[in-house]
């Protein structure tokens, strides 16, 4: 580990992208994440690591550049914010269907539509339930600090390549724009072309000498074959759900009530936990780090251990709360609290919500 720096989340992400041995970044500017492309262009990584950085003509082009680049076995990434991510959904569906490992970062802003440029968490459904057409999943990691904006880049790449699946870092405008301390991991060198060919036999970068060739497609006109392919995808998703759930429990050991929150909301909720504990209420915080796969079993265990109620705290109208409810399965009370449209709830509002919606009755 090296020097401690004070950086914006978006800048830390960009630096981590270079350090993680990325081969190509393809993206289009949009607030509140434009610092990513700006930082990369100013850093000129093509002169140091050989990484390609390209400002695409649209988010549609960006995500399809990831299809091409990821499909050729290279480590590729794009970043955007909500409206841009909506434009990418077609491409993501194709990428998931063709099983291409790529990384996509969403620095979420308020919606729907053009919305605003303030932080929000209203893209949870889009990120965790597929987003485009067809049955597929993204592996979704939710950083809640500038440090995690950096640290999750190599983690997300590893998961993407391990499962040949698109991975997403789901952040928000607050984490993108705020500055905190960050300590970077040691740079990982880019793979050579030879290493890429040796590691990824599925990648299309020129037919093998033995005559074997690779095709990357999401098309199968024969419904039986497409059903088989879908079963294969579902089997992979079950394995990811089994092995890759990540979360953080804070003060949950003796908790009677649990706040469930990710990203910026988890930060606000941690303060609320402190305020509630000061009042003598035993509250803990469950912070899902992977939003898909979701820590369903952890919540089920909490219910078995006697947690009396859950409050899902999200900057949305209530999206993750559905996954909390599915896990709890009616056994105890589950409610949602959150501000909408780019407004961030205060810790005091979270305290009040828990008292009124969960403890009160």
């Amino acid at each position: 580990m090296g020097e401690i720096k004070l950086m914006k989340g978006n800048e830390a992400l960009a630096e981590a992208i270079i350090r993680a041995g990325t081969d190509g970044y393809f993206g289009y500017p949009i607030t509140p994440q434009s610092e990513v492309l700006e930082y990369l262009m100013a850093s000129k990584p093509w002169e140091t690591t050989g990484m390609v950085v390209l400002q695409a003509e649209s988010e549609v082009a960006s995500i399809n550049m990831l299809y091409g680049g990821g499909g050729s076995g290279k480590k590729v990434v794009t970043s955007s914010s909500s409206p841009g991510i909506s434009l990418m959904q077609e491409g993501l569906s194709y990428i998931a269907g063709a099983e291409i490992p790529i990384l996509i970062v969403n620095v979420v802003r308020g919606g729907p539509g053009l919305g605003d440029i303030q932080p929000a968490q209203s893209d949870y459904f889009q990120s965790t339930k597929g987003g485009g057409h067809g049955d597929y999943r993204l592996i979704v990691l939710a950083p809640s600090s500038v440090q995690e904006m950096a640290d999750f880049v190599p983690v997300a790449y590893d998961l993407a390549f391990k499962y040949r699946n698109p991975a997403m870092i789901l952040s928000d405008g607050a984490i993108g724009q705020m500055m905190e301390k960050v300590e970077f991991f040691e740079p990982v060198p880019r793979l050579s072309d030879k290493e890429v060919k040796a590691r990824y036999s599925w990648a299309t970068n020129g037919k093998l000498k033995n005559g074997e060739r690779r095709i990357l497609t999401s098309l199968d006109l024969d419904p039986q074959k497409l059903e088989d392919h879908n079963h294969h995808l579902q089997e992979k998703y079950r394995e990811i759900e089994e092995k890759e759930v990540r979360y953080e429990e804070l003060q949950c050991d003796d908790a009677e009530y649990v706040l469930v929150a990710y990203g910026t909301s988890a930060r606000v909720s941690l303060k609320a936990v402190k305020l509630l504990r000061d009042k003598g209420i035993k509250v803990g915080l469950l912070r899902p780090i992977t939003l898909w796969p979701f820590p369903t079993k952890t919540i089920q265990n909490m219910v078995e251990q006697g947690v009396k109620g859950f409050l899902s705290v999200e900057m949305s109208a209530g999206q993750m709360v559905e996954d909390v409810r599915l896990a709890v399965n009616g056994k105890v009370k589950v409610e949602h609290f959150g501000r909408l449209g780019g407004v961030i709830h205060s810790p005091e509002e979270v305290v009040e919500a828990l008292e009124q919606k969960i403890i009160g009755e």
Binding site: L6, G173, A174, Q177, M178, M179, E180, K181, I344, S346
Partner: protein, 183 residues
Amino acid sequence: MTEEIIIAGFGGQGVLSMGKILAYSGIMQDQEVSWMPSYGPEMRGGTANVTVIVSDERISSPILRAYDTAIILNQQSMDKFEPEVKPGGTLLYDPNGISRQPSRKDINIFKVEGAKKAAEMGNTKIFNMIVLGAYLKIKPIVKLENVIKGLKKSLPERHHKLIPLNEDAINLGMKSVEVVQKV
């Protein structure tokens, strides 16, 4: 120790960079820091504000609705943030451009003639450093030597020659702060 601060004024007054220097100073003495700006169109000529937290512990919420200290540099920010100072907390303001004086009785209030002193020094750009000096006199949460180290970190190399001028401004701010009300 946890100090939660809002710095608010017009874009161009150096609000964001004052917060950044404060955050860097915290890092220089091994503290946890966060710097959360208002961002977007309002930055371009309108109001700007930044929430800075300096703490000995892991920082939970970087977004607050109640502050230990509010540093207020224009009237809109006075209207917005005076009510959000915690009871017993601190409000520091520059009376230049303030038409309505702060009215709360349950907080400590200080003022510093930052804009006026900066004009007297012949450099309006160091205005924010005068205000920072005033703040550090009231709340010495970071040592001056760490502020200088923080300045070195946050300023590009080509501006390092301006560090002595900034130091002078901080010292001037420390001398110029006036008590309006103490609770």
